[in-house]
Amino acid sequence: MSKKITVSKAIGEGLHEEMLRDDKMFIMGEDMAVMGNVFAITRGFLEEFGPLRVIDTPISEEGFVGMAVGAAMRGMHPCVELMYDDFVTECADPLFNQAAKLKYMSGGQCSIPLVLRMPMGSGRRNAGQHSQSLEGMVCHFPGLKVVAPCTAEDAKGLIKAAMRDPDPVIVMEHKLLYARKEEIPEGEYITPIGKAKVRREGKDLTIISWSREVNFSMEAAETLAKEGIDVEVLDLRSLVPLDWDAIRESVSKTHNVIIVSEEVKRGSYAGELSAQIAEELFDELDAPVERVCGLNIVSPFSPVLEDQNFPHPEDIVKAVKRVLNK
C-alpha cells in the first residue's frame, strides 16, 4: 500500500512518528513551534507535544545548536533545524568542534545523538547567502554523518533513521524538493543510513548524485536513452558514511562515471568522490571521472544568472556524451 504526499509532509510524518515513539526527542529551531516551521513541517506539533518538546528559539544559531549538544550529552535526542544550511557558519563551533568530536575526545564516554536538519540548495532565487550546497564543508568533519535524500520516501525513512542513530546526523533537505508530491509506503519504515540506491539501471555510464540533482540525472538519462545511451543513476542518499560497495559495483559494470552535484565545484564532496574513485577504481575506468557541479562563484540572485550556476539535465546530457566520446 502506498500514498502520495509531498516531501515536506513526509519529513513531518517521520518526525511525528519519532516524537510519539521517543519521549527523549525534542525539536528546536527558529519558527518551529507557534508557526510550525516555514515549510509547515512541524505544524500542529506544539499543540500535541507541548512547549518543552517543541521549542521556538531566538535567532541564536551558535547558542541553540550548542545547547542541543549539551542536551544530547545528557541523553536527550534533539532534532534541530537550521533555517538554511548557509547558517552553518553561525554554529560552526558547536557542530564541528563539539558535536563531531566529543565522543572521540572523551574516549567514547558520550555519544551525541543530535539531528541537524539543513534546508539547502539553489533555484529559489535567494541569492548568495541563502542558496548554497555545503556538502563539501560538512562532510569534511570526522564524527558527523551526512544524508541528503531526494525522494519523499527516503526523506521520511532517513529522518527516522537519523533520529535513532547514536551519532550526530546532518540531514540536508533541498528546498525545491519540499513541494514535490510522490508515492511513499503506508506506515512506519526506516531507510538505512549508509545505503545508496540504484534509481535506474544502465550499462554505459554511472551517474552518481544525491538530493535534487538525482531528479535532473533521471531526466538526462531518459533523454540519453532515446539516443541509445544506457545510463545508470546511483542515488547516494548518504554521503557519510558512503556506500562504497554500491559505487564499486556500478563503476565496475559501466566503467564510466560522472558525479553530479549543485556544489561549488572547488573543494566539493563531488571532488572527494572523484578522487576516491580515481585512487581505487582506476583500472575499472575507461575515461577520467568528470564532475558536473556549480560554478566557482557566489550564487547570483537574478534567475537568468542563477540558472547558470547549477547543473540542469542538458548539462548532464552533455557531460555524459563528453565522457563517452559520443
Binding site: 518543552l52 531566538p58 547558542g63 545548536v65 550548542g66 549539551g70 545528557r74 536527550m76 558547536p94 564516554q109
Partner: protein
Amino acid sequence: MAFENYPKEFLLDLYRTMVRIRSFEEHAAECFTKGMLAGNIHLSIGQEGAEAGAFAAIKPQDFFTSTHRGHGHAIARGADPKLAMAELFGKKTGYCKGKGGSMHIADMAKMNHLGANGIVGAGQPISAGSALASKIMGDDSVTVGCFGDGSTNEGSFHESLNMAAAWKLPMVWFIENNCYGVSTEIHRVTNTPDLATRAAAYGVEYAVVDGTDVVAVYEAMEKAMEHARSGKGPYVVEAKVYRYQGHYCGDPAVYRPAEYMEEALKNDAIEKMGKKLVESGVTEEELEKIKAEAQQEMDEAVKFADESPYPDPSEVLDDMYTVDNERCVAR
C-alpha cells in the same frame, strides 16, 4: 555565616581541596618542565580558593562543564588524580584514554563532568543545554558552567545566557576572572569593571565575590545553586582570582605588571585560610599533615601516570563511528 561557626571538618575539607589542587598543578608543572608531557598545560594555581569554594556548593546530582584551565575543577569535584594525571600524559589509563589530554578531562558517568573544553566559549551553550535537558526531564539537578573572563566576550555567552534566562533553566555560571586572556588584560578590551554585571542585561541575578576567600565563594555559590534549583532561572557568580603562571606552563607573562603578582601573593587563598584556621584553633601540624598527604597523593599520581602504558596505535580508530577508514589509512 561567620568563619568560626562552620564545622571544623567542613573548613578543613575546603583547605584540603585547595592544597590538593595546588599540589596536582605543581606536580603537573614539574612533569611538563622535565619534558614528560606533550603539548601544553594551563594551570589553576592562584584560583584554588574559587574552585574549592564553588564545588563545595555543588551536589552529587549536579552537572558541570569546564575549560582549558580545568584541572582544578576536576580535582575539586573529586576526580582521581591518577586518572587525571594519566590523561595529561596521554596514557591509556587516563580519563579519556589519552584521546583528550589536559584540556579535555571528562567523566560523565561518575562525576557528571561534561568535559573540559579547548574552545573558549564552548561550555556556555553546552551547560545551558544540559540545564535544558534537566528542565525537560524534570530532574532536580543544576548545571554549572565554569569558565574564565575571556569567554564572557564570546557570542556564545550572550546567546546562551539569554535563552537560559528566557526559559528559566536550572543553570549557574561560575566565572573565574583572573584578568587575563592569554596576554590581554580584560579591561583593555571590556568596558565594565565587573563581568557578572552583564547578567543584568538578560534579567539574570548575579554576584561578584573575592575568589581568594574560599568561604565567601562557597556562600555565593550556595545562594546561586539554591536560586537555580528552585526554578527561578540562571544565576551568574564572578570570582576575582589571580593566575600565578602565564597563560600556559612556561609562559613568562612578561606582559603583566609586577604589581599583579605582588597583589596575588598578598591574597593567596591557601595562606589566608591557613592563618584563619590557626587562629580558630587548628594546629600548624594538622595543616602540614594535609599538605604532606597531598604531596604524597600527587607523587603517586605521577608515578601511576608515568608507569601507565600508552594507547596501542591500533586504538586510533576506536570511538569513531566511521567505517570508511579501512581504505583511508592505506599508506
